[in-house]
């Protein structure tokens, strides 16, 4: 290549330019703004294809040697993924006419790219915070009271993650002498931690954990995503958590602790997904569960497992976007996505219904995208000897499929006809969904297309004996359910397919326990939320009591008061100086 390409152009530049263009375009040129959001990812992607691996863009900041661009297989794959997601989401959002949202989403993608190419923790931190800042705009843009509150909570959590990352990075930079991103060893024996270095690693670990929704830190996912705009949600689900997955894969591959976390993450959200009525929130819970799979794989840490995690991330973005896009279309047309007040929409939105079914099948059905990547994780679980983990993941895969894959499309498009008659989704939305659906099928049928771009060499075929057996077991399971239900004549009606029956069977088999768990977890969740809001409220109220403009600290003190405070300081100073 010529000299021109010796230093790659940072993709952020394209996205930044795009955002500026959108911001300064005159108010009448709405179509141009939409075109820019679609064109920018394409242009940036083309420039990305010219890149060679290596480190570029060294710069000095605050006396530290920093690297803006560190290009290798892992970061490139995530970059491709984000470009793809931005492109699809751009088309999906083509009809909107909201400059703030458009500019914010471009900057959001740009900062995600900055984060995956960052060669050191300081650069990563900078983009980490930019991600928080730009993504909160996508939630605020919905401009409702609920979304405003949720965006504030989201922002505080995200910034907290940034602060932790910053503190950890600073400590590591001081200890190691360089802030370059390296693999870290987490000291899981908490009692033996006595060095600042170990603490720093934990800080970074928790910062990453918050960003990818570790259990106990997961609430922002289910809180914020359903409050985003229909189009903004597509950007959000594709990016924030995936950046965290990337960061975990970089630094914490092979940390055993992650397998445990991943298993918990893949299982517990299913409970919430089942009891949730807002269908976009159902999908948000299933995102957490899917991330659990990736984290398990990162915890195993072999090259193959990392491949599996990355491939799952890749597929997950595509099929979860597809599901989210179909729900977004419903939200746009109906105005809400409450499962209890939808149903029968397949009559008025047939294409959207088909796309959402493809999205649901892609979670783990053979011949669809999700299967070919999850198969890698499953087989690595077995190879690493986690038999129970393997079983749990298998159950989680089925559970997520039932709780979100079937539930969301079923309640929206089928179930009892709600009588809603709306227009089909706009053409641009349908087009975006088509792209995602085609990708799901192509990757599912020809997995080598995906495997060829994975960071580590891969020699793997998902359609071999082991996986066919696994797949047969799942098939057998559902067939058994189907037959049994039919014999008992509990099978409601022909139209309603197996979906409901599996769901119903599930509940019939563990009815009491299941409901107890649901109720208990729901109740404790509610209690926790109530308690924490109450405590927080009290704290804020008592702070306000002293800080309001007319209160003790906020008002101008009388001259006596000022002199009294002065006297106190005088005594304080004299005390110190005379105690010598």
């Amino acid at each position: 290549m010529s000299e021109l390409f010796s230093t790659p152009i940072h993709p952020l530049i394209f996205f930044l330019l795009g955002a500026i263009l959108i911001a300064v375009l005159p108010a009448t040129k709405d179509k141009i703004a939409s075109i820019i959001t679609v064109i920018i990812p394409v242009v940036s992607f083309i420039s990305l294809l010219q890149w060679q691996q290596g480190s570029f863009g060294f710069y000095q900041l605050l006396g530290l040697e920093l690297t803006l661009l560190k290009i290798d297989g892992l970061s490139l794959l995530f970059a491709y993924l984000f470009h793809l997601a931005a492109f699809i989401a751009g088309i999906y959002a083509f009809h909107i006419n909201d400059r703030l949202q458009q500019a914010a989403s471009l900057l959001y993608v740009g900062s995600a790219l900055g984060a995956v190419f960052a060669g050191d923790w300081i650069t990563l931190f900078i983009f980490w915070e930019l991600l928080a800042l730009t993504s909160v705009m996508l939630i605020l843009s919905r401009r409702t009271q609920a979304s405003y509150r949720s965006s504030i909570r989201y922002f505080i959590i995200q910034v907290l993650s940034g602060v932790l990352l910053f503190s950890g990075a600073l400590m590591i930079a001081h200890q190691a002498g360089t802030p370059s991103i390296t693999a870290l060893v987490l000291n899981t024996d908490i009692l033996s931690i006595n060095t600042g270095y170990d603490v720093a690693i934990w800080l970074i670990f928790i910062a990453y954990g918050i960003k990818c929704g570790f259990p106990l830190f997961h609430s922002w996912v289910a809180d914020a995503y359903p409050q985003a705009t229909p189009t903004g949600a597509i950007f959000l689900i594709s990016i924030t958590t995936k950046v965290a997955i990337y960061a975990l894969a970089r630094s914490f591959a092979g940390t055993d602790f992650l397998v445990t976390i991943g298993l918990v993450m893949s299982c517990f959200p299913i409970i919430f997904a089942i009891i949730e009525n807002d269908l976009r929130r159902v999908l948000a819970y299933s995102i957490i569960s899917q991330i659990g799979f990736m984290i398990c794989a990162i915890g195993i840490g072999t090259e193959m497992a990392i491949n599996g995690a990355v491939a799952t991330a890749f597929n997950h973005v595509i099929y979860k976007s597809l599901l989210m896009m179909s729900m977004g279309a419903v939200l746009l047309r109906v105005g809400h996505v409450d499962g209890s007040h939808l149903g029968g929409l397949y009559k008025s939105m047939p294409k959207t219904a088909i796309f959402s079914i493809i999205g649901a099948l892609s979670i783990s059905t053979p011949l669809f995208a999700g299967f070919v990547s999850k198969a890698i994780i499953m087989s690595e679980m077995l190879k690493a000897g986690h038999i129970i983990g393997w079983l749990l993941l298998l159950a989680a895969a089925a559970g997520v499929f039932l709780a979100s894959g079937i539930k969301a499309p079923y309640f929206a498009f089928f179930a009892k006809d709600s009588g809603l008659r709306v227009k089909e989704a706009p053409t641009n939305m349908l087009f975006a969904m088509t792209i995602a659906a085609v990708l799901c099928l192509v990757i599912g049928i020809f997995p080598s297309t995906l495997y060829s771009i994975l960071p580590y060499p891969i020699d793997y075929s998902p359609y071999d004996v082991t996986h066919v057996v696994t797949q047969l077991q799942l098939l057998f399971f559902s067939t058994f359910a189907f037959v049994w239900l039919s014999r008992k004549n509990w099978y409601p009606s022909e139209l309603r397919s197996t979906n409901l029956d599996i769901d119903w069977f599930y509940r019939k088999l563990f009815p009491k326990a299941w409901m107890k768990v649901c109720q208990f977890s729901h109740l404790s969740h509610q209690c926790f939320v109530l308690l924490s809001t109450k405590v927080l409220n009290n704290v804020v109220m008592s702070l306000a009591k002293y800080s309001r403009p007319d209160a003790l600290l906020g008002r101008a003190w009388s001259i006596n008061g000022m002199l009294l405070s002065l006297l106190c300081v005088l005594l304080f100073v004299l005390f110190f100086n005379y105690s010598q």
């Binding site: 602060v163 702070l543 005088l570 100086n577």
Partner: protein, 506 residues
């Protein structure tokens, strides 16, 4: 750059002479022009001085040719050269801004008084920075303070402005008296008023009660002048009710200059070992500073007037600077100086943008400014960028400050303080975020009056100049950092190099 030793005295003489000219002219436009031109020359002089000092020279100028211990000496090294440049630049920028803004805030017949007061205030501030004579510091402190009281009293809400000014006058005078008494005690103990001379002789009388009392009194006096917690109460009202140009000017310079006196006295004259070793200045400063930045950030959250939010935030920022200074290490001092510089630009920009809003809407009450980004996009954008810088978002000047603050705290092993600094910057997110949210996302009465226009260009130009400076120093932090490092090392090392340059007058 061209440099002449007489530049240092010109810095003082020029505004001092220009002030009466304004009074004689009595014409608003002409006096503005006089102020502007003299200020422009001062900026050029100060920049030439700065480049001269940064080359490693220390400027010592004997006023009227009288040798040092008898006569007054001007003494300029890194820290005051940097601050002189900043004060004069901020003065120039706000002066350009003030031309439009005072039209609505001050009656035209009083405009010439405003400019005269301004120039006197500038004289005082530059005088404090430039002089090497302890008593001279007090004189200039009084010149700047008196003109400040007068400038604050010119505020458009007459009654409240007068009261605010009066309260500042009382507390400021008490502060100045403490400083004067302190200097008096030092004079009694050492028999000299020249700073280098005092520094040289103090070790001989270190343990005398006189010096300790002098030390304590100067500490107290400077606490008041810097608006250290808990003697800050004069500041919020003064900043809220002063004319917006005056708030902008004072927020950027007044407390910073007092901080300079603090650094000069306790690092240079008393010496780091004495102040922080023999006497426990660090132990006095740190708790007050930490309580200060925490409590004041909380108070800022609950204010309804944006100027008051910014005022309380200023007190919190002073807390950060004091926390950094109290470390008594080179890193801590560097961090403090960096924050002094960056915060000067940021706060001035914030006050100017509020002034622009005030100019168009006539209010800075947060409840009446819903969605004004639609009518005043440039002003609001500037406020947002400067606000981010105050929070310490990466790529802004504030980030560089926070970075060095936290690094310095970690280097001193003060983990808890580092965590507290970071936590309290979360509060800055809340109080700035609250305003940004009102500007950008709330809809209401303000958006209805679409006939309100963007602020005039002559107000936006200085505003955006400051914003660009603060973003530039955020991306290329080395400029500020190098200057701060240079100043800090000079302050810490200055003692030994001085001892032979002054003859013994006794």
């Amino acid at each position: 750059m061209l440099f002449n030793n007489h530049f240092s005295v010109l810095l003082i003489v020029l505004p001092l002479m220009a002030a009466p000219i304004c009074v004689i002219l009595r014409n608003p436009k002409a006096s503005w022009l006089v102020a502007l031109i003299s200020n422009l020359i001062i900026v050029l002089l100060s920049l030439s001085l700065l480049s001269h000092v940064l080359n490693g020279n220390v400027v010592r100028y004997e006023l009227g040719g009288w040798a040092a211990p008898t006569g007054i000496e001007y003494y300029i090294d890194g820290i005051n050269a940097v601050l002189i440049s900043i004060v004069s630049i901020i003065s120039l920028v706000t002066l350009i801004y003030s031309k439009q803004s005072i039209r609505k805030e001050i009656a035209t017949p009083r405009h010439y008084l405003f400019y005269a007061g301004w120039l006197l205030c500038l004289t005082g501030l530059l005088g404090i920075l430039i002089t090497g004579d302890a008593f001279n510091v007090f004189v200039f402190l009084e010149i700047s303070s008196l003109s400040m009281y007068m400038l604050i009293a010119l505020g458009s809400e007459r009654r409240q402005a007068l009261v605010a000014s009066f309260r500042y006058l009382i507390l400021g005078s008490i502060g100045a008296s403490f400083i004067l008494l302190g200097i008096g005690f030092l004079y009694a103990a050492t028999g000299t008023l020249n700073m280098s001379d005092i520094a040289e002789r103090l070790p001989l009388v270190n343990n005398s009660r006189t010096v300790i009392v002098g030390f304590s009194f100067i500490t107290i006096g400077l606490f008041i002048k810097t608006a250290m917690f808990p003697v800050f109460s004069w500041l919020p009202n003064a900043y809220q009710f002063a004319p917006s140009a005056v708030s902008a000017f004072l927020a950027g310079t007044a407390t910073k200059v007092s901080l300079y006196i603090f650094l000069r006295f306790f690092y240079h004259i008393f010496g780091t070992d004495y102040s922080f070793g023999n006497l426990l200045l660090g132990d006095v400063l740190l708790p007050l500073a930490v309580i200060g930045f925490f409590v004041m950030s909380v108070v800022a959250i609950f204010q309804t007037d944006i100027r008051r939010v910014l005022a309380y935030s200023s007190i919190a920022q002073i807390g950060y600077i004091f926390a950094a200074i109290s470390m008594a290490t080179e890193q801590g001092l560097t961090a403090g100086i960096i924050h002094i510089i960056n915060h000067a630009f940021i706060k001035t920009a914030l006050f100017i943008s509020v002034g622009c809003i005030l100019y168009r809407y006539g209010t800075a009450n947060i409840n009446q400014l819903n969605g004004i980004i639609k009518t005043m996009p440039w002003t609001c954008a500037a406020f947002i960028v400067a606000g981010f810088s105050l929070i310490g978002v990466p790529l802004t000047a504030g980030f560089v400050s926070k970075w060095y603050l936290v690094s310095a705290a970690i280097d001193s092993g003060w983990w808890l303080i580092a965590v507290m600094i970071l936590t309290s910057s979360l509060m800055a997110i809340i109080y700035i975020g609250r305003i940004v949210e009102v500007f950008c996302f709330k809809t209401g009465d303000a958006t209805n009056s679409l006939k309100v226009k963007e602020a005039p260009f002559s107000m936006l130009l200085p505003l955006w100049f400051l914003i660009i400076v603060s973003v530039y120093t955020g991306i290329n932090g080395d400029v500020v950092v190098d200057m701060a490092k240079f100043s800090a090392t000079q302050l810490l090392d200055s003692l030994p190099s001085l001892s032979n340059s002054i003859g013994n007058p006794l």
